[in-house]
Amino acid sequence: MITAGIDVGAKMIKVVIVKDNKIVARSINPTGFEPVETAEKTLGEAIKQAGITRKDVNKIFTTGAGRKAIPFADNNVTEVTADAKGTSYLFPSVRTIVDIGAEEARGISSDASGKVLDFSKNDKCAAGAGAFVESMSRALEVTVPLLIEISHKSTKEAPINATCAVFAESEVVSLIHSKIEKADIAHAVHDAIASRVSSMVRRIPIEKDVALIGGVANNTAIVEAMKKHLGVEIKVPEKPEYVSALGAALLAAA
């Protein structure tokens, strides 16, 4: 059985192909304005990578914000369900999943089979997600990788009080004015996100093990800060941005 999962994210489209319960290909592209075309293209790339043809794919499931827009999919599942499934495949011991994407963060509590027991999402403000890091990197005039790197070198706490991503940008500027080290500001940025995400995740029971997935899980500074805020160890899979797509592919095979 060969199935594909397509995660149509706010920022990136990700495809995972699963063959007999094994991952055989992954591909990713920016979503852009033509998600259908991008999805088609990304799927094509994955198919090529897997060394199969489109006809070999038995079923395609989509997930993500744009999941309903893909006409060639057989079905769609929500990100929450896909996250839980994908994570339980990678880490069967995980009971709490935190997914931080470009614009949305989620907390999911699940059982061993990857069934969702409860979840919470950020409703009101987008301040606690990947886009926040990006706008902060712009305010600090450093790239995201550099922002992460210097964040680890921070020695002092600096506060970011505004919750709004846009306002926080100017707070960052005022921190620069107060001659606070860039490293400390970078650290504060990550801390602020982790604090907001933890606050939201705490609405569901936090049970061990805890996993962090989504594109932002690549950000080691966020991972550190999340550990501190939740007070637990956190597992991060390799290529965390693909977990939702993986979940969708696994669900298609079920």
Binding site: G66, E103, E141, C164, V166, F167, S170, V173, I176
Partner: protein, 290 residues
């Protein structure tokens, strides 16, 4: 690196007719805003030169840059300026300024200079703030109101949208008016969520222009809401960068059913101009005292 669509054109100007060497006073106002920085140089009570440039991540540098651009080709040097007042978000960090005054007082003063003593209500739409200001015939603030909770409806919000749609920000207004039908105004008040909403509109087949129209309408509506709380007088002007966005301005005028009085040379320099005027007052006062 892709094109930065949010970048509006930086501009500068200086008067070919004024000879500053003979002047009684040469003063300058520097407005380091969250998004843009301006320097305005006044020779006696006339605008001699100004410039408009993007704020960097550090205000002393931004101030220095603005000042040096405005001095370009004038033959004037920083030492020739007798008094400098700083204003705007970075006002406390402008090393060459003798005093810092808030942008609220400066915008009122600058608008009063450009629009004349009739100006009663000023709407300043800048990078991060929306301000409704009332002033008297001398340009002194009598009341003001600012948005706080949300950055939606500000210049930065518009930049995020321009970048998303890959439309140069200077064209946003024009394009937003070039539509026959427009979708419902974008409902989300959050800049970041508004962005997702806009993506949704695009995906469901609306054109860029129509999406821009929806966003401009939404912004105009929010601004009018704020203005209503403070009250609007007929003699009203718009300052700040968004004053250059015809899409937002014309929609505000339509909702209010009043036309904003024109401001020349440039509504975006109101803050810097006000600061330069205060600088002149301070200079004259100190001379008198001496």
């Amino acid at each position: 690196m892709t094109t930065e669509f949010y970048r509006w054109t930086e501009n500068s100007w200086h008067s070919p007719d004024i000879d500053w060497h003979k002047a009684q006073t040469v003063t300058c106002g520097i407005d380091v805003g969250s998004v843009s920085s301006q320097a305005v140089i006044m020779v006696d009570d006339k605008i001699y030169a100004f410039c408009n440039t993007r704020t960097g991540s550090n205000s002393p540098d931004s101030a220095k840059k603005a000042l040096s651009i405005s001095l370009n080709d004038t033959g004037m040097k920083q030492e020739d300026i007798q008094y400098i007042v700083g204003t705007g978000y970075g006002r406390v960090n402008i090393p060459m300024a003798g005093k810092a005054i808030t942008e609220i007082a400066c915008h009122a003063r600058g608008a009063n200079y450009m629009g004349g003593p009739r100006v009663k209500t000023i709407l300043d739409m800048g990078g991060q703030d929306l301000k409704g200001i009332h002033c008297d015939e001398r340009g002194k603030v009598t009341q003001f109101l600012m948005n706080d909770k949300c950055a939606a409806g500000t210049g930065r919000g518009m930049e995020v949208m321009a970048e998303l749609l890959q439309v140069p920000i200077v064209d946003v207004g024009k394009m937003s008016l070039d539509v026959k039908e427009e979708p419902e105004p974008v409902s989300s008040t959050c800049v970041i969520f508004a962005k997702s909403e806009a993506i949704g509109l695009l995906r469901s087949g609306w054109t860029k222009n129509q999406v821009l129209a929806a966003y401009c309408s939404a912004m105009a509506h929010r601004v009018v809401g704020l203005l209503e709380r403070i009250g609007i007088e007929k003699e009203f002007v718009i300052t700040g960068g968004i004053a250059k966005n015809i899409g937002v301005v014309s929609r505000i005028e339509k909702e209010l059913k009043i036309k904003a009085m024109p401001l020349s040379p440039d509504p975006q320099i109101a803050g810097g101009l006000g600061a330069a005027l205060f600088a002149r007052d301070l200079l004259l006062k100190s001379r008198k005292a001496a």
